[in-house]
Symmetry: C2
Subunit: 505 residues, 2 copies
């Protein structure tokens, strides 16, 4: 570690009975001091805007291969939309959480830093305690308690009905999941469709319980509203999961890191720093990017200026349009960013003095402010940690910091026989209200894949654009961020090499 980790970030909130609601959370991801810069007239080989997985991967790849690299980050920490708050040595994942060995890019990183083996642990538990899934399909009727086997049976049946558009569980639509646009005819059909369109198509095939559970599940995977969320993105995720229910659950929601995402991010960042080729400036939101052909000038909101031969912009889709580019952002990039993707979900953790809830899963769609929750771990004090996702439906869209009592009530409504004094801690990050994210992980709206994906990946002069939001494989996942980070890093390295050879000639 370059400096002692464990500083408090401005991001996120914590509520405890004693302290009430407090902004900011401790994390391994806060970098102190916040900047390390050479002389002001330095011209960097590359400046990377944004220190999420994409920016970190690009920074590491370019700095360790000998490029004078600058990382500029708006926040006081690395990680972007995935980071963990480390409370008493226990990580609460504030954004992207789960990893799997079928996610090639993040798996390689875990292996690289020796973070496999005992560092991998399982979120959901089905042992001891309540060991039930609670479903509340009807507002005024009692909740239904399902055994694990029943839950899986109903969920699997419902999800298969949803994705089975071709009698082959979607295989013909996306035969190669990392090259999802290959079957152009099929993409054209399913990219137009919203999740709402597809749910209408199959509604007569779904039992009330099936419908309720699949909707509950979808509400937290797309994090948006049915009419506004592309069905194609679900088919893609399903294909990446081996067209299989078990794969879907295991690859998306099962294995997490004992060291937390910030632990892995710290390894990537520290390797870059150790190369002596990385400068950085945190708490530096970028205002303008001015590409002057041989040089790009970046100006921070507080007037800081940086110069580089090339720039990698990893600012999320929903935020891109807030930066002033000159020459202007390509029209399709701009339009995509102004429209934004659909996902505005809020993730919320609770610590409750009820060990029996470790094996609880619960759906609470569409009436609850928290729509889906499950036991995620046991804290050092022996309490159960559960993770939930908030509803994005109008009227019940949870903004936990605005009314923390409402959040506590939402948890109480979700957890059986739980009183307020059982709640020891609530931890969350409101991605919807976060100015540097303006949403959670990518879930495109209908038609956006066809219309914008290629344009979003396009280079513009000396500026490259990388993000999990427009990755090709596990787009919207941790893995996609690393995938696109290594893509742009390689492209920039190749470009600088060619430029160097040209200059010599």
């Amino acid at each position: 570690m370059v400096n002692p980790p464990g500083h408090t970030s401005r991001d996120g909130h914590q509520w405890t009975p004693k302290a009430g609601l407090v902004a900011g959370l401790p994390t391994l991801g806060t970098i102190k001091p916040q900047s390390k810069l050479r002389s002001a007239d330095t011209i960097y080989d590359v400046a990377i805007i944004g220190g999420g997985y994409t920016g970190l991967t690009a920074s590491r790849d370019l700095a360790t291969s000998g490029h004078k690299t600058l990382l500029i980050e708006a926040r006081d920490r690395i990680g972007g939309r995935s980071w963990s708050s480390n409370i008493d040595g226990y990580p609460f994942e504030m954004g992207g959480t789960w990893v799997h060995w079928t996610q090639p890019f993040i798996w390689r990183e875990l292996f690289r830093y020796n973070l496999l083996g005992e560092n991998l642990e399982v979120s959901m538990s089905h042992e001891g305690g309540i060991n039930k899934c609670i479903v509340r399909p009807f507002k005024d009727r009692p909740a239904i308690f399902l055994e694990k086997e029943q839950e899986d049976k109903i969920s699997e049946s419902a999800i298969k009905k949803l994705v089975d558009v071709d009698g082959q569980l979607g295989r013909t639509v996306i035969p190669l999941p990392h090259d999802a646009l290959r079957n152009k005819e099929a993409v054209a059909i399913f990219d137009k469709m919203s999740l709402g369109d597809r749910l209408s198509e199959i509604e007569h095939e779904l039992s009330p319980l099936e419908r309720n559970m699949v909707e509950g599940f979808l509400s937290i995977t797309c994090g948006g509203q049915w009419h506004d969320s592309s069905f194609f993105e679900l088919l893609r995720w399903w294909a990446l999961s081996n067209w299989d229910y078990k794969g879907f659950m295991e690859m998306g929601l099962t294995y997490k890191l004992r060291c937390g995402q910030s632990g892995l991010q710290r390894c990537i960042f520290d390797e870059a720093v150790m190369s002596n080729n990385l400068d950085y400036s945190f708490s530096t939101p970028v205002a303008t990017i001015h590409d002057q052909q041989n040089l790009v000038e970046i100006t921070g909101r507080n007037g800081e200026k940086f110069r580089a031969r090339s720039v990698i912009c990893t600012v999320p889709l929903n935020v891109l349009h807030t930066i002033q580019f000159s020459p202007e952002l390509l029209p399709l990039k701009k339009q995509a960013s102004v429209e934004g993707h659909a996902n505005h979900v809020v993730k919320c953790h609770v610590e409750v003095a009820k060990p029996s809830l470790r094996s609880l899963g619960t759906f609470n769609y569409p009436y609850g402010k928290l729509t889906y929750a499950f036991g995620d771990g046991t804290t050092p004090s022996g309490n159960t940690h559960l993770v939930a996702f908030g509803s994005s439906l109008p009227g019940v869209h949870l903004q936990p910091e605005e009314n923390v009592q409402e959040t506590l009530d939402a948890w109480k409504g979700l957890l059986p026989d739980t009183k307020e004094e059982d709640i020891k801690r609530v931890v969350f990050h409101n991605w919807h209200k976060d100015e540097f994210a303006q949403g959670a992980w990518e879930w495109f709206k209908p038609n956006q894949v066809s219309k914008y994906l290629d344009a979003l990946r396009e280079r513009q002069g000396n500026v490259w654009f990388g993000s999990a939001d427009w990755a090709q494989g596990w787009r919207g996942f941790l893995d996609g961020g690393i995938e696109d980070g290594q893509r742009v890093a390689k492209e920039v390295a190749d470009h600088l090499k060619t430029r160097e050879i040209k200059v010599k000639l």
Copy 2:
């Protein structure tokens, strides 16, 4: 490309009606000129012995991160036990062939060099033509013709009986496939078992057809004899395949590269060369490795001498003991190498003027010299290319170059209604007789995993050991080679960094 590709390697053999049997094959992997070396007194940061995937990955990772790197290779080409012969622009894969997106390390490389998309193609075809699987369980009875659905049904049923040691298809034995030794008790039980032991346990459960097909399949996956091949290694491969028959076939035998493995290898090698930090010496078999504490001296069989601060030895398990180490190779490493792994299969390609055979699959165990074959592609002349694997059973162990007529006869015996004049080309590499491989891909013998795996991965002084033969995940696969190459490269880079810091202090 650093130099015009497409030279002829000394490796492999080709038979055509016109030229008869000729040693050597054209490939993108032959490097000309064969060496690029600085002054004789150069002390390299690292010398890498062996230019298969492990050595190539390590060379690229270390050279691009600024280390003075030397690659020493016994052959005249890169690739080791995986390489493709490019004949009229069509690749015949002489060793490791198939790739999949669940193989994280090779998938990242394919992505890095933009070799996905149309470069990925499918081996087996089930469209048009004969579209049958032919099985010959009885020596003196006619062959049985199966439809694809029947073949899958029988194979799946047989393989599931084989792996289902726990009522959960082996999941409890290896819950985390890239950390396969985690469940120590289970490993102890199944590592002792040979494939023969397991086949005896379930023989009463298998129908004659099931037994014949599963044995045919196993004969070419382990490439050895039942009593000599570990059952644990099958359980591990099955776990990596998501404990699923479809996964098993798709991840192991389905997708290959239009550019051939040598095409991808060339990208890795060329990136290393472009860094200007890589020297190399091909056709340079190593005789001795002498670790003198601050320096390692490597001597080639022809007396060439090289010096480096650290060495990465990627020589295959079955060959390691032929190099003289001083200090001596750790006893467990030496013993493992002298014992060797079990796989001595020979891969053999045929080009036949019978387009209908593109959709043929055929088992020919235990009587045939070629035990399993299937349509693998269509050559530029419109002929069908089939790939087969030779038997490793005593008495029928195919040595194709020793009696090429026998090889032609074996093909005729395998392919329905095929006369000698239909055979336009035979291409093969006899790994069993290859002095720098002494076997094919790794398949451990019973007890070797428990006894040797940790020792094989161990560093010895300034010498690191990397190989697909002792990788942790897809051991014995292309992916495992890249995995272990990046491991040792990172370890050496960290070591050199620490050493540098110490020297400065």
